[in-house]
Protein backbone atom coordinates (compact mmCIF):
# COMPACT_ATOMS: atom_id res chain seq x y z
CA UNK A 1 0.00 0.00 0.00
CA UNK A 2 1.31 3.45 -0.91
CA UNK A 3 0.89 6.42 1.38
CA UNK A 4 2.18 9.95 1.30
CA UNK A 5 4.22 10.36 4.47
CA UNK A 6 6.85 12.75 5.70
CA UNK A 7 10.06 11.37 7.18
CA UNK A 8 8.86 11.59 10.76
CA UNK A 9 5.62 9.77 9.92
CA UNK A 10 7.68 7.12 8.14
CA UNK A 11 9.77 6.57 11.27
CA UNK A 12 6.70 6.41 13.52
CA UNK A 13 4.96 4.03 11.13
CA UNK A 14 8.00 1.75 11.14
CA UNK A 15 8.03 1.68 14.95
CA UNK A 16 4.33 0.82 14.90
CA UNK A 17 4.87 -1.95 12.35
CA UNK A 18 7.68 -3.29 14.54
CA UNK A 19 5.10 -3.55 17.37
CA UNK A 20 7.32 -1.75 19.86
CA UNK A 21 6.17 -2.27 23.44
CA UNK A 22 7.70 0.77 25.09
CA UNK A 23 8.17 4.28 23.74
CA UNK A 24 9.86 6.83 25.91
CA UNK A 25 10.77 10.21 24.51
CA UNK A 26 10.91 13.89 25.14
CA UNK A 27 9.76 16.38 22.53
CA UNK A 28 12.42 18.24 20.56
CA UNK A 29 12.29 19.95 17.21
CA UNK A 30 12.35 18.56 14.52
CA UNK A 31 11.74 15.08 15.96
CA UNK A 32 8.60 15.88 17.96
CA UNK A 33 6.03 14.71 15.43
CA UNK A 34 7.46 11.18 15.55
CA UNK A 35 6.60 10.67 19.18
CA UNK A 36 3.37 12.65 18.80
CA UNK A 37 2.35 10.23 16.08
CA UNK A 38 3.29 7.25 18.26
CA UNK A 39 1.33 8.72 21.19
CA UNK A 40 -1.64 8.97 18.82
CA UNK A 41 -1.22 5.34 17.66
CA UNK A 42 -1.17 4.19 21.29
CA UNK A 43 -4.12 6.42 22.30
CA UNK A 44 -6.37 5.20 19.49
CA UNK A 45 -5.47 1.56 20.02
CA UNK A 46 -3.51 1.03 16.81
CA UNK A 47 -0.39 0.21 18.82
CA UNK A 48 -0.33 -1.81 22.02
CA UNK A 49 2.53 -0.14 23.86
CA UNK A 50 3.42 1.76 26.98
CA UNK A 51 4.26 5.44 26.48
CA UNK A 52 6.53 6.61 29.29
CA UNK A 53 6.49 10.36 29.80
CA UNK A 54 9.76 11.74 31.13
CA UNK A 55 11.27 15.07 32.09
CA UNK A 56 14.30 14.97 29.80
CA UNK A 57 16.09 13.01 27.10
CA UNK A 58 18.52 11.72 29.71
CA UNK A 59 15.52 10.09 31.38
CA UNK A 60 13.94 9.04 28.09
CA UNK A 61 16.88 6.87 27.13
CA UNK A 62 17.26 5.67 30.72
CA UNK A 63 13.65 4.51 30.68
CA UNK A 64 14.31 2.72 27.38
CA UNK A 65 17.29 0.98 28.97
CA UNK A 66 15.17 -0.30 31.83
CA UNK A 67 12.42 -1.39 29.48
CA UNK A 68 14.72 -3.12 26.99
CA UNK A 69 16.33 -5.02 29.87
CA UNK A 70 12.94 -6.45 30.86
CA UNK A 71 12.59 -8.09 27.47
CA UNK A 72 10.43 -5.70 25.44
CA UNK A 73 11.08 -3.98 22.13
CA UNK A 74 11.89 -0.34 22.79
CA UNK A 75 11.99 2.80 20.69
CA UNK A 76 12.83 6.44 21.17
CA UNK A 77 13.57 9.45 19.02
CA UNK A 78 15.50 12.66 19.46
CA UNK A 79 17.48 15.45 17.81
CA UNK A 80 20.40 17.74 18.48
CA UNK A 81 20.42 19.04 22.08
CA UNK A 82 18.30 16.05 23.07
CA UNK A 83 20.94 13.68 21.76
CA UNK A 84 23.59 15.65 23.62
CA UNK A 85 21.64 15.33 26.85
CA UNK A 86 21.40 11.59 26.19
CA UNK A 87 25.08 11.24 25.48
CA UNK A 88 26.01 9.83 28.88
CA UNK A 89 23.28 7.20 28.59
CA UNK A 90 24.19 6.33 24.99
CA UNK A 91 27.37 4.70 26.25
CA UNK A 92 25.43 2.88 28.98
CA UNK A 93 22.96 1.44 26.45
CA UNK A 94 25.72 0.07 24.23
CA UNK A 95 27.84 -1.05 27.18
CA UNK A 96 24.88 -3.01 28.55
CA UNK A 97 24.30 -4.34 25.02
CA UNK A 98 20.63 -3.34 24.94
CA UNK A 99 19.13 -3.41 21.45
CA UNK A 100 17.30 -0.08 21.57
CA UNK A 101 16.37 1.53 18.27
CA UNK A 102 16.41 5.31 18.16
CA UNK A 103 15.66 7.79 15.45
CA UNK A 104 17.88 10.85 15.41
CA UNK A 105 16.51 13.60 13.22
CA UNK A 106 19.68 15.47 12.37
CA UNK A 107 19.78 19.05 13.60
CA UNK A 108 22.68 21.38 14.34
CA UNK A 109 23.99 22.12 17.82
CA UNK A 110 23.93 25.28 19.93
CA UNK A 111 25.43 27.84 20.05
CA UNK A 112 24.30 29.79 18.10
CA UNK A 113 20.89 28.23 18.64
CA UNK A 114 19.57 26.60 15.51
CA UNK A 115 16.72 24.22 14.79
CA UNK A 116 17.86 23.50 11.24
CA UNK A 117 19.56 20.51 9.74
CA UNK A 118 23.13 19.34 9.78
CA UNK A 119 24.80 16.19 11.01
CA UNK A 120 26.94 17.56 13.84
CA UNK A 121 24.71 15.99 16.51
CA UNK A 122 25.01 12.32 15.57
CA UNK A 123 28.61 12.82 14.45
CA UNK A 124 29.45 14.04 17.96
CA UNK A 125 28.38 10.68 19.41
CA UNK A 126 29.89 8.46 16.74
CA UNK A 127 32.14 6.77 19.34
CA UNK A 128 29.28 5.71 21.62
CA UNK A 129 28.99 2.11 20.40
CA UNK A 130 25.73 2.65 18.52
CA UNK A 131 25.28 1.49 14.95
CA UNK A 132 24.62 4.64 12.90
CA UNK A 133 22.67 4.45 9.66
CA UNK A 134 21.96 7.52 7.51
CA UNK A 135 18.92 7.68 5.23
CA UNK A 136 18.50 9.48 1.93
CA UNK A 137 14.71 9.49 1.54
CA UNK A 138 11.51 8.62 3.40
CA UNK A 139 11.18 5.10 2.02
CA UNK A 140 14.68 4.41 3.25
CA UNK A 141 13.72 5.76 6.69
CA UNK A 142 10.86 3.28 7.04
CA UNK A 143 12.84 0.36 5.66
CA UNK A 144 16.00 1.14 7.63
CA UNK A 145 14.07 1.45 10.88
CA UNK A 146 12.55 -2.01 10.37
CA UNK A 147 15.97 -3.45 9.53
CA UNK A 148 17.45 -1.69 12.56
CA UNK A 149 15.37 -3.76 14.99
CA UNK A 150 16.59 -7.01 13.43
CA UNK A 151 20.25 -6.00 13.49
CA UNK A 152 19.98 -4.58 17.01
CA UNK A 153 18.28 -7.61 18.48
CA UNK A 154 20.41 -10.25 16.79
CA UNK A 155 23.69 -8.65 17.87
CA UNK A 156 22.58 -6.91 21.07
CA UNK A 157 23.61 -3.49 19.81
CA UNK A 158 21.67 -0.24 19.93
CA UNK A 159 20.99 1.29 16.52
CA UNK A 160 20.55 4.95 15.64
CA UNK A 161 18.68 5.71 12.45
CA UNK A 162 19.64 9.21 11.31
CA UNK A 163 17.98 11.43 8.75
CA UNK A 164 18.05 15.09 7.87
CA UNK A 165 15.76 17.45 9.75
CA UNK A 166 13.07 19.19 7.65
CA UNK A 167 14.64 18.09 4.35
CA UNK A 168 13.24 14.63 5.12
CA UNK A 169 11.49 14.91 8.47
CA UNK A 170 8.90 17.42 7.29
CA UNK A 171 8.80 16.66 3.58
CA UNK A 172 6.16 14.26 2.31
CA UNK A 173 6.79 11.61 -0.32
CA UNK A 174 4.76 8.64 -1.52
CA UNK A 175 6.19 5.57 0.14
CA UNK A 176 5.36 1.88 0.13
CA UNK A 177 4.03 0.64 3.49
CA UNK A 178 4.61 -3.09 4.01
CA UNK A 179 1.80 -5.35 5.25
CA UNK A 180 1.77 -5.97 9.02
CA UNK A 181 1.75 -9.75 8.48
CA UNK A 182 4.89 -9.52 6.35
CA UNK A 183 6.66 -7.33 8.93
CA UNK A 184 5.73 -9.82 11.66
CA UNK A 185 7.48 -12.55 9.68
CA UNK A 186 10.53 -10.34 9.16
CA UNK A 187 10.67 -9.23 12.81
CA UNK A 188 10.13 -12.13 15.20
CA UNK A 189 9.08 -11.46 18.79
CA UNK A 190 11.89 -9.74 20.71
CA UNK A 191 13.79 -11.97 23.10
CA UNK A 192 16.54 -10.59 25.33
CA UNK A 193 18.85 -13.21 26.83
CA UNK A 194 18.97 -13.00 30.64
CA UNK A 195 16.36 -10.26 31.10
CA UNK A 196 15.56 -8.57 34.39
CA UNK A 197 13.18 -10.99 36.09
CA UNK A 198 12.47 -11.23 39.84
CA UNK A 199 12.09 -15.00 39.48
CA UNK A 200 15.58 -15.29 38.06
CA UNK A 201 17.73 -12.42 39.31
CA UNK A 202 20.67 -11.15 37.30
CA UNK A 203 23.17 -8.38 37.85
CA UNK A 204 23.32 -5.69 35.16
CA UNK A 205 25.88 -2.94 35.01
CA UNK A 206 28.38 -4.26 37.54
CA UNK A 207 31.68 -2.58 38.29
CA UNK A 208 34.16 -3.17 35.48
CA UNK A 209 37.41 -3.58 37.35
CA UNK A 210 40.67 -3.24 35.39
CA UNK A 211 40.87 -7.04 34.98
CA UNK A 212 37.57 -7.07 33.04
CA UNK A 213 36.75 -3.72 31.41
CA UNK A 214 39.01 -4.09 28.39
CA UNK A 215 37.45 -7.42 27.44
CA UNK A 216 33.95 -5.91 27.42
CA UNK A 217 35.10 -3.05 25.20
CA UNK A 218 36.73 -5.59 22.87
CA UNK A 219 33.50 -7.61 22.75
CA UNK A 220 31.54 -4.47 21.90
CA UNK A 221 33.98 -3.62 19.12
CA UNK A 222 33.73 -7.19 17.77
CA UNK A 223 29.92 -6.91 17.78
CA UNK A 224 30.20 -3.62 15.86
CA UNK A 225 32.42 -5.35 13.29
CA UNK A 226 29.98 -8.26 13.08
CA UNK A 227 27.12 -5.84 12.50
CA UNK A 228 28.53 -5.08 9.05
CA UNK A 229 27.84 -8.58 7.85
CA UNK A 230 24.55 -8.65 9.74
CA UNK A 231 23.39 -5.41 8.08
CA UNK A 232 24.05 -6.94 4.67
CA UNK A 233 22.36 -10.22 5.60
CA UNK A 234 19.26 -8.47 6.97
CA UNK A 235 19.21 -6.13 3.96
CA UNK A 236 19.22 -9.13 1.61
CA UNK A 237 16.40 -10.82 3.48
CA UNK A 238 14.51 -7.53 3.43
CA UNK A 239 14.92 -7.44 -0.34
CA UNK A 240 13.51 -10.94 -0.73
CA UNK A 241 10.47 -10.01 1.30
CA UNK A 242 9.91 -6.38 0.32
CA UNK A 243 11.93 -5.89 -2.87
CA UNK A 244 14.17 -3.05 -1.68
CA UNK A 245 17.91 -3.17 -0.94
CA UNK A 246 20.29 -0.45 0.21
CA UNK A 247 23.74 -1.82 1.07
CA UNK A 248 26.36 -0.44 3.44
CA UNK A 249 27.30 2.00 0.69
CA UNK A 250 25.66 2.90 -2.59
CA UNK A 251 27.75 3.30 -5.73
CA UNK A 252 26.17 5.72 -8.18
CA UNK A 253 27.83 5.87 -11.62
CA UNK A 254 31.14 5.58 -9.81
CA UNK A 255 32.69 2.40 -11.21
CA UNK A 256 34.76 4.12 -13.92
CA UNK A 257 34.77 7.60 -12.36
CA UNK A 258 37.94 9.68 -12.01
CA UNK A 259 36.28 12.04 -9.56
CA UNK A 260 33.93 10.70 -6.91
CA UNK A 261 31.70 12.61 -4.50
CA UNK A 262 31.35 10.95 -1.11
CA UNK A 263 28.18 11.86 0.77
CA UNK A 264 25.83 10.80 3.53
CA UNK A 265 22.09 11.40 3.93
CA UNK A 266 19.77 13.57 1.83
CA UNK A 267 22.64 15.54 0.31
CA UNK A 268 23.28 12.44 -1.81
CA UNK A 269 20.16 13.11 -3.91
CA UNK A 270 21.26 16.61 -4.93
CA UNK A 271 24.76 15.36 -5.61
CA UNK A 272 23.43 12.57 -7.85
CA UNK A 273 21.71 15.23 -9.96
CA UNK A 274 25.05 16.98 -10.36
CA UNK A 275 26.73 13.69 -11.28
CA UNK A 276 24.13 13.22 -14.01
CA UNK A 277 24.86 16.61 -15.55
CA UNK A 278 28.57 15.77 -15.74
CA UNK A 279 27.86 12.33 -17.16
CA UNK A 280 25.70 13.90 -19.89
CA UNK A 281 28.79 15.82 -20.95
CA UNK A 282 30.80 12.59 -20.91
CA UNK A 283 32.82 13.50 -17.82
CA UNK A 284 33.69 10.64 -15.51
CA UNK A 285 32.16 11.85 -12.28
CA UNK A 286 30.43 9.50 -9.84
CA UNK A 287 29.07 9.32 -6.33
CA UNK A 288 29.37 6.99 -3.39
CA UNK A 289 26.91 7.27 -0.54
CA UNK A 290 27.72 5.99 2.91
CA UNK A 291 24.65 4.50 4.56
CA UNK A 292 26.37 2.77 7.45
CA UNK A 293 28.69 5.22 9.18
CA UNK A 294 29.11 2.96 12.22
CA UNK A 295 30.24 0.30 11.52
CA UNK A 296 32.38 2.14 8.97
CA UNK A 297 32.53 0.29 5.64
CA UNK A 298 36.31 0.39 5.17
CA UNK A 299 36.65 -2.52 2.75
CA UNK A 300 33.67 -1.42 0.71
CA UNK A 301 35.04 2.13 0.36
CA UNK A 302 38.48 0.89 -0.64
CA UNK A 303 36.72 -1.10 -3.36
CA UNK A 304 34.51 1.79 -4.44
CA UNK A 305 37.00 4.67 -4.28
CA UNK A 306 40.35 2.96 -4.82
CA UNK A 307 40.47 3.43 -8.58
CA UNK A 308 39.38 7.10 -8.57
CA UNK A 309 41.93 9.89 -8.95
CA UNK A 310 40.27 12.24 -6.48
CA UNK A 311 37.45 12.03 -3.96
CA UNK A 312 35.48 15.04 -2.71
CA UNK A 313 33.90 14.35 0.67
CA UNK A 314 30.89 16.61 1.19
CA UNK A 315 29.49 16.67 4.68
CA UNK A 316 27.33 18.64 7.08
CA UNK A 317 29.55 18.33 10.11
CA UNK A 318 32.99 19.26 11.34
CA UNK A 319 35.17 17.83 14.05
CA UNK A 320 36.35 21.25 15.18
CA UNK A 321 40.11 21.52 15.16
CA UNK A 322 40.38 18.69 12.66
CA UNK A 323 38.16 17.97 9.64
CA UNK A 324 34.79 16.42 8.79
CA UNK A 325 34.08 13.08 10.42
CA UNK A 326 33.26 11.26 7.20
CA UNK A 327 36.43 12.62 5.59
CA UNK A 328 38.57 11.48 8.51
CA UNK A 329 37.26 7.93 8.39
CA UNK A 330 37.37 7.75 4.59
CA UNK A 331 40.96 8.99 4.57
CA UNK A 332 41.92 6.58 7.34
CA UNK A 333 40.48 3.70 5.29
CA UNK A 334 43.30 4.17 2.81
CA UNK A 335 46.10 4.07 5.30
CA UNK A 336 48.52 1.34 4.13
CA UNK A 337 46.49 0.93 0.90
CA UNK A 338 47.62 1.61 -2.67
CA UNK A 339 46.40 2.95 -5.00
CA UNK A 340 44.71 5.63 -2.94
CA UNK A 341 42.81 8.60 -4.36
CA UNK A 342 43.58 12.19 -3.39
CA UNK A 343 41.01 13.37 -0.89
CA UNK A 344 39.36 16.74 -0.37
CA UNK A 345 36.90 17.69 2.32
CA UNK A 346 34.06 20.14 1.83
CA UNK A 347 32.19 21.30 4.91
CA UNK A 348 28.77 22.49 3.78
CA UNK A 349 25.11 22.91 4.62
CA UNK A 350 25.57 23.67 8.29
CA UNK A 351 22.40 24.57 10.19
CA UNK A 352 20.12 24.16 7.23
CA UNK A 353 22.04 26.26 4.73
CA UNK A 354 21.11 25.01 1.27
CA UNK A 355 23.76 23.10 -0.61
CA UNK A 356 23.16 24.15 -4.19
CA UNK A 357 24.21 22.27 -7.36
CA UNK A 358 26.57 25.21 -8.00
CA UNK A 359 28.40 24.52 -4.75
CA UNK A 360 28.57 20.80 -5.45
CA UNK A 361 30.02 21.62 -8.86
CA UNK A 362 32.64 23.79 -7.13
CA UNK A 363 33.67 20.70 -5.16
CA UNK A 364 33.78 18.59 -8.32
CA UNK A 365 35.95 21.21 -10.07
CA UNK A 366 38.38 21.34 -7.16
CA UNK A 367 38.62 17.55 -7.07
CA UNK A 368 39.06 17.42 -10.86
CA UNK A 369 41.90 19.92 -10.61
CA UNK A 370 43.55 17.80 -7.91
CA UNK A 371 43.11 14.73 -10.12
CA UNK A 372 44.73 16.57 -13.04
CA UNK A 373 47.67 18.05 -11.14
CA UNK A 374 48.13 15.27 -8.58
CA UNK A 375 48.23 17.89 -5.84
CA UNK A 376 45.86 19.05 -3.14
CA UNK A 377 46.45 22.63 -2.13
CA UNK A 378 43.97 22.71 0.73
CA UNK A 379 42.42 19.48 2.01
CA UNK A 380 39.59 21.00 4.05
CA UNK A 381 37.42 23.73 2.57
CA UNK A 382 34.06 25.29 3.31
CA UNK A 383 31.36 25.47 0.66
CA UNK A 384 28.96 28.39 0.58
CA UNK A 385 30.90 30.27 3.22
CA UNK A 386 30.41 34.04 3.11
CA UNK A 387 34.11 34.82 3.19
CA UNK A 388 33.84 38.60 3.60
CA UNK A 389 31.79 38.47 6.81
CA UNK A 390 34.43 36.34 8.53
CA UNK A 391 37.20 38.65 7.41
CA UNK A 392 38.64 36.53 4.59
CA UNK A 393 39.94 38.15 1.45
CA UNK A 394 38.11 36.88 -1.61
Amino acid sequence: MKQVLDGNEAAATAAKLARVKVVSAYPITPQTTIVEKLAEFIANGELDAEYIKVESEHSALSACIGAAATDVRTFTATSSQGLMLMSEILFVASGLRLPIVMTNVNRSLSAPLSIWCDQQDSMAVRDSGWVQLYCENNQEILDTTLQAFRVAEELLLPVMVCFDGYILSHTAEPIEIPEQAEVDKFLPVYKFPNPLDPEKPVTMGPLGVPEYYEEFRYMLQEAMHASKEKLVEVDKEFKKRFGRYYGLIERYRSDDADVILLTMGSLSSSAKEVVDTYRKRGEKVGLVKVRSFRPFPVKELIGALGQAKAVAVLEKDISLGSAGGLFLDAAASFINVKPAPLMLNFICGLAGRDVSPLQIKEAVRAAAKAAETGKVRRAVRWLGLREKVVGLKV
Binding site: L96, R97, M204, P206, Y212, F216
Partner: protein, 86 residues
Protein backbone atom coordinates in the same frame (compact mmCIF):
# COMPACT_ATOMS: atom_id res chain seq x y z
CA UNK B 1 34.81 -18.73 32.34
CA UNK B 2 33.54 -16.81 29.33
CA UNK B 3 32.18 -13.31 29.71
CA UNK B 4 28.58 -12.49 28.79
CA UNK B 5 27.80 -9.53 26.53
CA UNK B 6 27.04 -6.39 28.50
CA UNK B 7 28.77 -7.75 31.61
CA UNK B 8 25.56 -9.43 32.77
CA UNK B 9 26.08 -11.69 35.78
CA UNK B 10 23.51 -14.46 35.89
CA UNK B 11 24.48 -15.96 39.24
CA UNK B 12 24.55 -14.34 42.67
CA UNK B 13 27.87 -12.84 43.70
CA UNK B 14 30.21 -15.29 45.43
CA UNK B 15 33.40 -14.68 47.35
CA UNK B 16 34.28 -18.34 46.74
CA UNK B 17 35.10 -17.42 43.13
CA UNK B 18 37.19 -14.44 44.13
CA UNK B 19 40.56 -15.62 45.34
CA UNK B 20 41.79 -12.69 47.38
CA UNK B 21 45.04 -14.56 48.13
CA UNK B 22 46.56 -12.78 45.12
CA UNK B 23 46.54 -9.52 47.11
CA UNK B 24 48.88 -10.83 49.79
CA UNK B 25 52.27 -9.27 50.49
CA UNK B 26 52.69 -10.74 54.01
CA UNK B 27 51.87 -14.35 54.81
CA UNK B 28 50.74 -15.43 58.30
CA UNK B 29 52.84 -18.30 59.62
CA UNK B 30 51.76 -20.12 62.80
CA UNK B 31 54.22 -21.37 65.40
CA UNK B 32 52.67 -24.73 66.37
CA UNK B 33 54.53 -24.72 69.70
CA UNK B 34 52.92 -21.47 70.84
CA UNK B 35 49.41 -22.11 69.44
CA UNK B 36 46.85 -23.20 72.02
CA UNK B 37 44.02 -23.71 69.52
CA UNK B 38 41.91 -21.00 71.16
CA UNK B 39 40.24 -20.18 67.84
CA UNK B 40 40.46 -16.36 68.05
CA UNK B 41 42.24 -16.22 64.67
CA UNK B 42 39.42 -18.30 63.15
CA UNK B 43 36.88 -15.91 64.67
CA UNK B 44 38.60 -12.72 63.51
CA UNK B 45 39.62 -13.70 59.95
CA UNK B 46 37.46 -11.50 57.64
CA UNK B 47 37.82 -13.96 54.75
CA UNK B 48 37.17 -17.20 56.65
CA UNK B 49 40.59 -18.30 55.44
CA UNK B 50 41.67 -19.61 58.86
CA UNK B 51 40.33 -22.98 60.00
CA UNK B 52 39.72 -24.33 63.52
CA UNK B 53 42.38 -26.61 64.93
CA UNK B 54 45.62 -26.72 66.85
CA UNK B 55 47.34 -25.28 64.97
CA UNK B 56 44.67 -24.14 62.47
CA UNK B 57 45.14 -24.50 58.73
CA UNK B 58 45.23 -21.36 56.61
CA UNK B 59 43.72 -21.37 53.13
CA UNK B 60 46.19 -19.21 51.24
CA UNK B 61 43.92 -18.98 48.17
CA UNK B 62 41.79 -16.55 50.18
CA UNK B 63 44.15 -15.19 52.85
CA UNK B 64 44.88 -11.65 51.66
CA UNK B 65 47.54 -11.15 54.33
CA UNK B 66 45.72 -8.48 56.32
CA UNK B 67 47.45 -9.56 59.53
CA UNK B 68 44.39 -9.34 61.78
CA UNK B 69 45.02 -12.90 63.03
CA UNK B 70 48.61 -12.06 63.99
CA UNK B 71 47.43 -8.93 65.76
CA UNK B 72 44.70 -10.72 67.69
CA UNK B 73 46.63 -13.86 68.72
CA UNK B 74 47.05 -13.60 72.55
CA UNK B 75 50.05 -15.97 72.44
CA UNK B 76 52.00 -14.22 69.67
CA UNK B 77 51.94 -17.50 67.78
CA UNK B 78 51.39 -15.90 64.35
CA UNK B 79 54.08 -13.96 62.55
CA UNK B 80 53.71 -12.12 59.22
CA UNK B 81 56.44 -13.13 56.79
CA UNK B 82 57.07 -11.17 53.61
CA UNK B 83 56.08 -13.00 50.42
CA UNK B 84 58.99 -13.43 48.07
CA UNK B 85 58.90 -14.03 44.34
CA UNK B 86 60.70 -17.13 43.26
Amino acid sequence: MSLKPGAIITEPGSSVRYETGSWRTFRPVIDANKCTGCGLCWLYCPDAAVGKGKPPEIDYRYCKGCGICANECPFKAISMVAEERE
